[in-house]
């Protein structure tokens, strides 16, 4: 708190922040740059730092010559379905956890933590068999259902936190005015916790969009394959050129960046908030 030393500390802080920011964003920027380079500029013995020629070729080729568009659409479908399932089943569960103190509540919450400890591998095998038996293997809905296995608890956990932060008095007032519990939830709590609801949905959406392992195992054909699996397959089996790989990566993280931009307002508000005084 001694102000003399503050200048030196500020400089140090900025130095740290700049180094970290470069560390974090640098690789992504390099990939972005690569996606616009001609293939010959990428596979050279002398690394081209700032290319003189730019091209959209990589994007065009990837989009038109591979099944990338299908992959993206599949991912969108799966993500959307996952979010919808969570919304429908998880919101009311989160509300129940937040507002009611019932027997077994702590156990269920602890149970969530324990579930997280199960290795994904352990779950995939039986899920594979289960989905195959109900005909939902290699199916986008099936994959969405599989995703809820690890995303629904996360959804409920996060949303409960937001519901907890919404003051209970408003619902009490609404119920005195004649609303039902559920009605109070829809009309009062959700609008207040709207930001939290959006943030939670975005988290789940990003996680579903990015997911690799389950998608790898539970989809076998192009009909339902998601982009992470498809892209990696192209790298491994078809030796995808770096430029197109970079383009594919950039395309796929565009939605993530957009979604991230939505959530960051909420997250960064927490970051730039002041600390408590005493």
């Amino acid at each position: 708190m001694h102000y003399r030393g503050d200048l030196a500390l500020n400089i140090l802080t900025y130095a740290i922040l700049i180094v970290l920011a470069v560390f974090c964003v640098g690789p992504v920027l390099w990939t972005l740059l690569t996606s616009f380079k001609l293939e010959t500029d990428i596979i050279t013995s002398q690394i081209v730092y700032l290319p003189t020629r730019f091209t959209f070729d990589n994007y065009v080729k990837l989009w038109s010559q591979s099944n990338y568009p299908t992959l993206i659409i599949n991912s969108m479908a799966v993500t959307a379905m996952t979010v919808v399932i969570c919304l429908l089943t998880g919101t009311i569960a989160a509300y129940a956890f937040s507002r009611f103190h019932f027997r077994g509540r702590t156990q269920l919450m602890l149970g969530y933590l324990v579930i997280r400890m199960f290795p994904a591998v352990l779950m995939i095998i039986p899920l594979f068999i289960l989905l195959r038996n109900v005909g939902l293997l290699d199916n986008r809905l099936g994959l969405a259902i599989a995703y809820t296995s690890f995303l629904l608890p996360l959804y409920v956990w996060m949303l409960k936190g937001f519901f907890d932060a919404a003051p209970k008095e408003l619902e009490a007032a609404a119920r005195i005015d004649g609303s039902t519990r559920l009605g109070a939830m829809f009309r009062i709590v959700i609008p207040i916790a709207r930001n939290g609801l959006v943030a939670t949905c975005v988290f789940v959406a990003i996680a579903a969009w990015n997911e690799y392992l389950f998608a790898l195992m539970l989809t076998t054909s192009e009909g339902s394959r998601t982009w992470p699996v498809g892209l990696q397959l192209m790298v491994g089996e078809f030796n995808l050129p770096w430029g197109m790989l970079a383009a594919g990566g950039m395309i796929s993280i565009a939605p993530v960046v957009v979604l991230f931009a939505l959530v960051q307002r909420w997250m960064v508000a927490g970051i730039t908030a002041g600390a408590v005084k005493g």
Partner: protein
């Protein structure tokens, strides 16, 4: 030798000036109270004295030494915070001795000092506990123990009683006064509670918007407030202000107000410069008594009667202006009654209505 001396201290945050030209002196053993409403700059001033904030201008002297550039830990001060700021992960013993520990005082001496401080504040039985296990009053004592253990030149208190309930507040207030008398320490105490200021301070600085309105001992501030702000801030129920014009009749000042004329025979101020001009008369509720003779009096109609136990607050309408009087416990008055109240004109103040300053 003055323990604390501020000359022309200023503080601005960017373009906003929060403290303007603060001058004050505090002698050894004195108890200075910085009193004022929220936002008046008293806590900022305390932070500047402590060294937690730099002054934008002026000199801060502690014991004849200019300390503007001295680190808080080298100013030989101690501070008690409104939130107590006890380190939650350390036991009380370590909390109290922390300052000594940071100054590399040897353990045996440290333990002894901690024991003495703990005994003084009656918290020896709590030494092994963590702050989270203590009550509010106990935490308050531990915070004070941490302050006294290093025997500093200057003690700084930042609204230490605000977080306590009313009863505890009164107890701790007495504790602090007792401690001051016993240890003869020099204290700067920030509060917005004027009762604390009056009971604890040897000197009170009433502040508003970064400017000291009046710096004097409590009695002077009470009886001779420097302006209407100070007059209205100190004393509960608040001082009454009656507007009117100042006239003179047979050598005595007279207030010509909406409901009549009020002679002011025992006025102690020299108000000759204000004859014929509008003035504000300040009279405290306790300076009004039921009129028994022909002395100066105000007549009004009773609006509200509030019994408090030991006395009764009566709110009157005097010619359209509200006046509160503090009368005895059984007044027999009710809404709508007319009453005449004698005014103790030796205890009134006259102010200029424009500037608010005492005439």
């Amino acid at each position: 030798m003055a323990t604390l001396s501020l000359n022309g201290v200023r503080k601005s945050f960017g373009a906003l000036e929060v403290l303007s030209n603060v001058d004050l002196e505090l002698d050894d053993g004195g108890f200075l109270v910085l009193l004022g409403p929220s936002g008046c700059g008293k806590s900022t001033l305390l932070s500047i004295i402590a060294g937690l904030e730099p002054a934008s201008g002026g000199d801060v002297m502690i014991g004849e030494r200019r300390v503007n550039d001295v680190h808080p830990k080298d100013r030989n001060i101690a501070m008690v915070f409104q939130s107590y700021a006890l380190y939650p992960t350390m036991p009380v013993e370590r909390n109290i001795g922390f300052g000594l520990e940071m100054r590399k005082v040897a353990k045996p001496e440290r333990d002894e000092a901690v024991q003495r401080a703990a005994q003084l504040l009656q918290v020896e039985h709590l030494l092994a506990r963590k702050p989270g296990q203590l009550s509010g009053g106990q935490r308050q004592r531990v915070a004070m123990g941490r302050a006294i253990v290093r025997d500093p030149d200057l003690f700084l208190f930042d609204e230490p009683l605000s977080n306590l309930d009313a009863k505890l507040r009164v107890e701790m207030r007495t504790e602090i006064k007792r401690l001051h008398e016993r240890l003869k320490t020099t204290i700067v105490y920030v509060t917005h509670d004027q009762v604390e200021a009056m009971t604890l301070g040897t000197k009170v600085a009433v502040m508003k918007e970064g400017i000291i309105q009046q710096l004097a001992d409590p009695q002077t501030i009470y009886e001779k407030p420097a302006n209407t702000f100070v007059a209205g801030f100190i004393g509960s129920p608040a001082m009454n202000f009656l507007s009117g014009t100042l006239d003179v009749e047979g050598g005595t000042a007279v207030l010509d107000h909406a409901a009549g004329r009020l002679p002011l025979p025992r006025l102690e101020q020299d108000v000759s410069a204000a004859f014929g001009k509008p003035v504000l008369l300040g009279v405290r509720p306790e300076s009004l008594h039921p009129a028994r003779d022909d002395g100066p009096s105000l007549s009004g109609v009773v609006d509200v009667v509030e019994p408090t136990g030991p006395d009764t607050h009566v709110l009157l309408d005097v010619g359209g202006q509200p006046v509160t009087a503090r009368l005895g416990p059984r007044t027999g008055l009710a809404h709508g009654d007319s009453i005449a109240l004698a005014v103790d004109t030796s205890a009134i103040s006259l102010f200029d209505p424009q500037s608010g300053l005492r005439l």
